[in-house]
Symmetry: C2
Subunit: 296 residues, 2 copies
């Protein structure tokens, strides 16, 4: 099966699971509208790369995909909440996302903020349930890892750095640190969660951590390259926005050619990190290669 088919199959599983987790309910209208906004933010789009990494990482240790589905859905809730809040007028002020209106354009700012809050909260609700893992201490471990990845020393901290950097001139190390927190931390959690579900040993955990780190950096670099070169139609959102608002990116600092070379090196690093898993890791290797080829 080609990687794109594998991605689509997992994306479909995750979509179905999120759809069930966010099922409309007979509640008063104000609450129903909140659920509608959560569904708008979480359903109907996205490559579901993070859930894919959870499931494929767990598979290395013999974990069936349905046993990794809950953790992967929880992670996707965090990712989707972060998009809703990042798009807000006081943050990146984006009106389009995945080719349609952002949540605050579609539902108003208050409902968008609350939908983000509720999706973040739902993520921890999901992780706490026995359906995520029968062992409570494994569930508590996943909660702690996701909270650290998403919190002040992870994603939210990275977003704060990103906002503070607008109009400033950051060096490559500072930009890399910001991106490691803002987007790298959730990719790192994805692979770490797979390892935890699979009760991986320290060597395997280390290998997956190295893979996730290279994968996350490559993903961000590819995204910045697309933004620098792309057009709105293939991006599903406004292009060249980073430069226009003085956003710090490695592409701006290194130039496009050096950024492309670095992207290739990172994908090689990601592949190399998976050596301990041998042929079992073929899908994860393909996923790293896929980053370079993606167009949107």
């Amino acid at each position: 099966m080609a990687l794109t088919e594998k991605l689509e199959r997992i994306a479909s599983l995750v979509e179905q699971r999120l759809d069930a987790l966010l099922a409309p309910e007979p509640v008063p209208m104000g609450q129903a509208r909140l659920i509608e906004a959560m569904r708008y933010a979480a359903l109907g789009g996205g490559k579901r790369l993070r859930p894919f990494l959870v499931i494929e990482s767990a598979r290395l240790f013999g974990v069936a995909e349905e046993e990794a589905l809950e953790a992967s859905a929880a992670l996707e809730c965090v990712h989707c909440y972060s998009l809703v809040h990042d798009d807000l007028p006081s943050m990146d002020d984006d009106a389009m996302r995945r080719g349609r209106a952002t949540a605050h354009i579609a539902f108003g700012e208050a409902t968008a903020i609350l939908a983000g809050d509720a999706l973040l909260t739902l993520a921890f609700d999901i992780l706490s349930r026995p359906s995520t893992h029968p062992d409570g201490s494994v569930r508590a471990t996943l909660v702690g890892l996701l909270a650290q990845a998403a919190g002040v020393h992870g994603m939210v901290g990275g977003q704060a750095l990103d906002l503070a950097a607008e109009g400033q001139s950051l060096g490559p190390m500072e930009v890399a640190k910001m991106q490691e927190m803002k987007t790298g931390a959730l990719f790192a959690f994805a692979c770490h969660a797979g390892a935890v579900l699979g009760r991986a040993d320290a060597v395997a955990q280390g290998a997956l951590a190295a893979y996730a780190s290279a994968f996350g950096q490559a993903f961000q670099l590819a995204d910045d390259l697309l933004d620098a070169q792309g057009d709105a139609a293939t991006m599903g959102k406004a292009a060249a926005k980073d430069e226009g608002r003085g956003k710090a990116t490695l592409v701006a600092l290194l130039g496009i050619d050096a950024a492309r070379a670095r992207l290739k090196a990172l994908v090689d690093d990601a592949e190399a990190a998976l050596a301990p898993f041998g042929a079992k890791a073929v899908t994860l290797k393909e996923a790293a290669r896929f980053i370079v080829s993606r167009r949107a």
Copy 2:
């Protein structure tokens, strides 16, 4: 020891714990500012009633207060995040809280939103740690209960109902349901968490749930009475705002005299619910009585 002294002593313990959990760190400036905003939102004020209920509920079952302190601090993080987001311009648009500028006035809207996000995330981080409870399944249970209390069917859902109700005419049942979700759910979690930490049996859990329900309703009614009658100086925030913006309150629906009578009945209910605990529950009974007497 008088109840006010007990409250102050626990509030001081919680303040110290939150101060340590949010210790300033050598991080880049954008992230340091985020931590500063989290500290602003979580420290320096508040009666810490919810943590008090966690600790006093746990004490009924012989749990030492330091063993309930982590869960109580986690709950307070959720409460403080909710105040920051509720105060935002697109929500209640409040400029003052506890006698000083609200977080978005002091730090800007983007940082306030992120500080709220990070406090919510920190709450689950805290609950996931072995310092909260040595048993991972107890920690996972607390995570699930807090997520449910704070999420779309609890606090956030209640805030959505509250916003949707502005300018609408709700009946007493609808207002009660909204308030049960918006403010009652966290009080219910407080007592439930104490019971979980104390491995309480079903009878004791039920008694505490009945207490928490009456307590939460009484608290909200007292708050609404203060708003209807109070002035800004004793409230530490603008008074009579509810009426001005067409907020749904039971005081507006019942009138002040009937609301006072209902408040007294709720406090009686709260006390009566504690009967199974006998003399051990004296402090929780005092806490319910305290609601009626409070001035701010």
